[in-house]
Symmetry: C2
Subunit: 573 residues, 2 copies
Amino acid sequence: MQSGKKGIWPFPDANSLGQDAIAGLVIAAMLIPQGMAYALLAGLPAQVGLYASLLPTAAYALFGSSRYLAVGPVAVVSLMVATATALLSQRHGLDPVPVAASLALASGAILMLMGLLRLGFITHFLSRPVLLGFMGGVAVLIGLSQLPHALGIPVEVREPFALVGELAGNWQSFSLPTLLLAIGTVLLIRLFSGPLARLLQPRLPTAGLIVSRLGALAAVVLGITLALHTGLGERTALVGEIPRGLPSFALPPIELAWLMELLGMAFLISLIGLMESVSVGRALAARDGEDIQPNRELLGLGASNLVAGLSAAYPVTGGLARTLVARDAGAKSPLAGVFAAGGVLLALLFATPVLAMLPRAILAGIILLAVLPLLDFASIRDTWRHNRPDATVALISFASVLILGVELGLLTGLAVSLALLLWRISQPHVAEVGRVPGTEHFRNIRRHQVETRPGLSMIRVDESLQFPNSRFLRDTLLEHLDTHPETRDLVLVCSAINEIDSTALETLEELVRSLAARGIRLHLSEVKGPVLDRLRRAGFPALLAPGRIFFTNQAAFEEIGADKPQQDQSVAQ
Amino acid sequence: MQSGKKGIWPFPDANSLGQDAIAGLVIAAMLIPQGMAYALLAGLPAQVGLYASLLPTAAYALFGSSRYLAVGPVAVVSLMVATATALLSQRHGLDPVPVAASLALASGAILMLMGLLRLGFITHFLSRPVLLGFMGGVAVLIGLSQLPHALGIPVEVREPFALVGELAGNWQSFSLPTLLLAIGTVLLIRLFSGPLARLLQPRLPTAGLIVSRLGALAAVVLGITLALHTGLGERTALVGEIPRGLPSFALPPIELAWLMELLGMAFLISLIGLMESVSVGRALAARDGEDIQPNRELLGLGASNLVAGLSAAYPVTGGLARTLVARDAGAKSPLAGVFAAGGVLLALLFATPVLAMLPRAILAGIILLAVLPLLDFASIRDTWRHNRPDATVALISFASVLILGVELGLLTGLAVSLALLLWRISQPHVAEVGRVPGTEHFRNIRRHQVETRPGLSMIRVDESLQFPNSRFLRDTLLEHLDTHPETRDLVLVCSAINEIDSTALETLEELVRSLAARGIRLHLSEVKGPVLDRLRRAGFPALLAPGRIFFTNQAAFEEIGADKPQQDQSVAQ
């Protein structure tokens, strides 16, 4: 494609190495709190999020197609992992941690396989409205799941309506300090990304950009300081013990009994993870002209997830926020990701005792702010203005996620969008056309002042002729003839017909015979090359005779009239 | 639509009443052996087939849309009933007879509901290649299922490969008289429909037509005579006792425990039954200009099946062979169906003792000949010549039915055909176009000698812009620009674009920005009215500026060149 791909090679010079190191450490400062927060969201111990930010992040640097993309745990995938592990734990009595690693391994294998088979196009079937609705629904689910932590009310339920009920029922355990911590986190992050960044920007633009992203780190440091030096630890829940050191390498224990269930869930996680990475890539492409190759991206994400599965982590993908940080902090090559992993490594080696003192409410605040942009009602409203069916698909996807859960909700949205596509194909727009005076251009007679000729009907079908609409076409043409009984020649304008499948061809043959029985000749005009080739191979032109295939509408308009001179004068309307 | 609908009213005069009576009795002569044969094929007692030819046939006359359509048991639906009852019997220990009646009741309800909701269009999603393959596979399954009866080898297996194995394993019970009866039946039917009919035709055309269809009746009469007057009954299997008189009316005992399974199977049976009736209707339409309204047809078939379910019968639909008989025998109104039911009633009241003496091998011969035309390899071969993907769908459907069975095979074919449709949409044909000299017509530069202008690329996309292909389009345009770096103006020719959904719109907006960053203007031309309306509502024209939306390709070609006079002279190629 248009932009050169920047791999880790050729190895960068000292200058860009330094810039990558700075960018890497800034990413690490975001990855550490986010990783812990998302692991807890996924129903896993906090260190799993750190493991997911370590080797998988480095692995992407070796195989991925983007210079900036920062891979690690993300909110949406974490919620999907929570749902999947909860299901498998419930059905087969499994521990969530190895199940999460198995999901990463399966997801890595699926992504790799899709990359090798060049199946990246599958993501194109997730349409924008489905994603809008799905992401919005997931944001609501994630937001609700953080309420117990932000309010200090211990509730174990996941189902959104039950959760709200439980919260109301256990109102007496509400903890004001906890809520203040969560609100304080939100305000602090906003302070850093808003006023503080604006203050620095004019004089130190780069520092301003970096500072704007360090609010979460500041909240973490402040929270730990409070917990260490005041009695806050007794009045709110802390993250708790985190094992020091590196994750152990092992194959997670996948069993045949639940392999199929695992693969189904891993496939959906892979799909959404890939979509998220590709979306981040597209956001970058719009800014910098950098492009992401979906099939190479599959290999990079696949490698990341395989490594995640082998290193006691859980499924990862590219996250928008930290990718923008990497770019703004001056990352020059994928090595920035390696440095970021180095930062997480330092935390695992030296900072776990202090990270254990982090109040959970602070992580809840970080998550709440992170998922807020996913709730994009403005885009749904804009879509409603110009495309109601698509807006409806978005709303259905949104509601499905809330009512049916993440997986079934996603599948429902997908099914509805495909059904809508098939419905559109099955009910094509059909217009009678005439010649725009003084041109050789033919347009809809209802929208334009055009010339027509008595006895000649020119009908343009605005869709390929395929099995879902072939019968509709036939009915529409016959209806037209019922209301235009003077028609002797019917020209099917094929300028918008890109394909005639064998079902439609059979219907056309039937139509030729039906029309012949009424003394009406069917003609085609402006048939495209590939379609005409196929019609010729099927012997259709002979069957059409005495009807003809005209190269242009103009030729059809002129020549069909030519053998009936008495009608030639009546060019009118 | 074009032809007036003939209901049972206005009541016919005496002359046409007489013709209907004759036609009805001819249909009855076919219905009686066919009904018994198909009931046995469905794994049900022979009288169930007669019940299915009695009240359901009459009910269609009251509600259906076709003058001729003869409703009753048919081979394909019988095989589907056999599969469904076998499954439900196996899973829930149910008796096949009430299950078959329940299937008819559920199928009737589904068809009625589809008719009331005007969902007849659902059948359009069963494409011709899927039906070709499905019917072929079913024909093979039916043919195999009749082998035990034609060879006199008692085998109970249904699965085709196991069946062949069992037949080979039990070769010693082979009965030559049985095989001779089956072969004799085939030859007798062929004799009647071939030489005998040709002999009569020149002098007595109507008699010839009627006689050509009476071979099965002759075989039945001959078989019963042999069984009554020779020792044949001891050397081959007979139909056996058939209860005399009318079926008892009752609601079949449907239980919640298997209702959902029943509904799924009934839905597929309804779909195939409806397809079969509509196909018969289309065959008639091609001959006589008579047309079938799918939604009224749904009500007629629904009523028939409801009555079948209440009168101890099983699912029915319109059969091609006996419908053609009705037409050839001079049926004038749906009353012919009522007379046919009368003929079956007479048989049930008076002929059951002799029908019990009918050798089963004769019914096997009748079925074998009836399903032979379904095995339409010639059509698959013809399709292969002009449309390989469709022929492949037909072969996959065929193989799926044999390997996975009737229901899963049908669903597989359906899924493959929809996947192919989506695949086609996701990989549209894209062509660079230029002006055909001396005209205002623009065609593919690779297929035609056309004029182009340096710095101007006109690209026609031959598909609506929708989520499966929006990314493909973007990639294709960017690739074109890579190979045509001199391009300053890119015109997207929209004559074949019938829809731009919100996913594609977002991609277009991204594309405008990406191109602007390279100093390239994007324009649209020949945008259709409804598409333009939608683009305007989304505010796209403002975003496109300085790119423009041209009414015609000609205008784009002339006006984009106009502000660069030095290029105007270089119209070339």
